[in-house]
């Protein structure tokens, strides 16, 4: 039995390592080409081992380092705040829906799911957020539109509650005299750690990676998050490379080279790799503790 288990563990580890390599090798190529000298790239082609190492792509991006540092700062704040707000909204919405006895839960679920399929497009959203709520060029623009609560996450959490939390537990708490909010804080949340930490991760990534809000609702550089900065560089390149630009005699001599495009991507991923393992632990703890106390 134990030996069989060891065989299984080894096999499982091997499979996971293969999968990990499959996921990591392309990223390694990304990193390698970001530090390969441009000419070496053209002459020798792409390779995991740069024939000539050259950090100038990173130097190019970091020319305006205050901008970059501010960008990271804004991204960090937006990600933290956004994740907390999103999880609060999501949990509050998911819990009642997970209760099998709640009248009208099918209709509400439907209303929720409907938003995943139908949307009125960017124009009406933009008109509403800018003209009615005046969020253009404010911090809220990065936080509120589209990212505060998504049907997908609510449905995932609802499913988790419904299938992992026994109804008897809730009934027992009711008999003890707990109110619904008490049940949510003292019983549901502590049991929801796996889904909370997972959704925190996904929501956090969503906020971290988002640049569309920044693109549409912000055009002042004091509010550019890191992804907006990086993606603007990337989009400009992408655009100036396209056929439309060829007709326009844009001077392309300042275009970022391949190395810079790759470096841009690395700059977006690196912080997540560094910060995530620490953050995940504390974020989930913080949310659970805060809920219990509050």
């Amino acid at each position: 039995m134990i030996r069989r288990d060891r065989v299984f563990q080894t096999t499982a580890n091997i499979i996971m390592i293969v999968l990990m390599l499959y996921c990591m090798l392309p990223l390694l190529l990304l990193f390698a080409s970001s530090i390969t000298e441009e000419r070496a790239l053209i002459v020798n082609g792409y390779s995991f081992w740069p024939s000539r190492i050259d950090w100038s792509a990173y130097k190019y991006i970091l020319i305006d380092s205050t901008q970059i540092v501010r960008g990271y700062g804004i991204s960090a704040v937006v990600t933290l705040l956004g994740t907390v707000l999103n999880l609060m909204l999501t949990t509050l919405f998911a819990y009642p829906l997970s209760r099998k006895d709640l009248p009208g839960k099918t209709v509400i679920s439907f209303i929720l799911f409907f938003t995943m399929l139908f949307n009125g497009g960017l124009v009406p959203s933009y008109i509403m957020w800018t003209q009615l709520f005046h969020i253009k060029n404010t911090f809220w623009a990065l936080l509120v539109p589209n990212l505060m609560m998504g049907a997908f996450n609510v449905i995932m959490m609802r499913t988790y509650f419904a299938s992992n939390i026994p109804t008897e537990l809730i009934d027992a708490a009711k008999i003890d005299g707990s109110g619904e909010y008490g049940i949510l804080a003292r019983i549901i949340l502590p049991m929801a750690k796996p889904i909370l930490s997972t959704l925190a991760l996904l929501v956090g990534l969503g906020y971290w990676n988002d640049w569309l809000n920044g693109l549409y609702y912000v055009n002042q550089d004091r509010l550019y998050s890191i992804q907006v900065l990086l993606n603007r560089m990337l989009m400009d390149t992408q655009f100036l490379m396209s056929s439309a630009a060829q007709k326009m005699s844009v001077d392309t001599s300042q275009l970022p080279s391949t190395g810079i495009k790759m470096a841009i991507a690395v700059m977006g991923i690196l912080p997540v790799l560094v910060v995530y393992p620490f953050l995940q632990k504390y974020l989930v703890q913080g949310i659970t503790i805060g809920a219990v106390k509050g």
Partner: protein, 305 residues
Amino acid sequence: MKKKKQFRWRKYLPLYSMLIPGMLYLFINNYVPMAGIIVAFKKYNYSKGILGSDWNGLKNFVFLFKTKDAFTITRNTVCYNLIFILAGTAAAVAVAVLLSELKAVRMRKLYQTLILLPFLVSIVVVSYIVYGFLSTEFGLINHTLVNAGRDKVSWYSDPTWWPVIIVMVHAWKNIGYNCVLYYAALMGIDASYYEAAEIDGATRWQRIRFITLPAIRSTISIMVLMAIGKIFYSDFGLFYQVPMNSGPLIDVTNTIDTYVYRGLMETNNIGMSAAAGVYQSVVGFLLVVLANWTVRRQDADNALF
């Protein structure tokens, strides 16, 4: 009778109150802008606004069905999505179960984080990476082929391999994401079930088959249902940027979204692109309602709504 109903209402008041913030957000963020859907039926004129523009009947929809491309793009969109749903779900569940069976906690965390990383890379950058592998002249794969004494392959002008490449890239980018969701569901399974199984002397396979899988069945069912709703949509970047918009590959990479983009790039017609969106949503909606109804008849817990 009436009294009883009132009583129930009051009992659920706290639960309903929890829904208020979310409902408000959905209302503002999603439902109000939905009014914009009518643009699909209008000849949109900026100075007249959405309401003031003239009605256009179904004219905005015509371009979607005008050519024989209509068949190709629908086939491509649906087939790729079916593969993504079937293979993607199977792979993600398998990896999640495998992860949960691992004993070394540190390694588990490491795997979990690393396989998620590709999800972070924007699709434009993914296209550069893929190019790094597949470029005829500079690519890693052709380099390896030449070193092994084989001929170069002109990847971007030969459609043969592209269905496989698209699926591989999609898997690469998304497996971590999907896997994490199933993994969370697995982590929530009550440990006492496993202890009981251990005492009964159940094998690992029996444990997985009779405890683990049933416990995440509703998660799987719901994820699949949600994917079905999006079956007429495609990840634009995956089908446009990653194949480098290469002409010879279009037969196997053209989807509804890329067709709309290529067609409307220069004319910039909001009505026509809204029409495409409506078409995609309505079909997805009908399919998901049907699928949901089927699931619901089996087990209401596994249904979306």
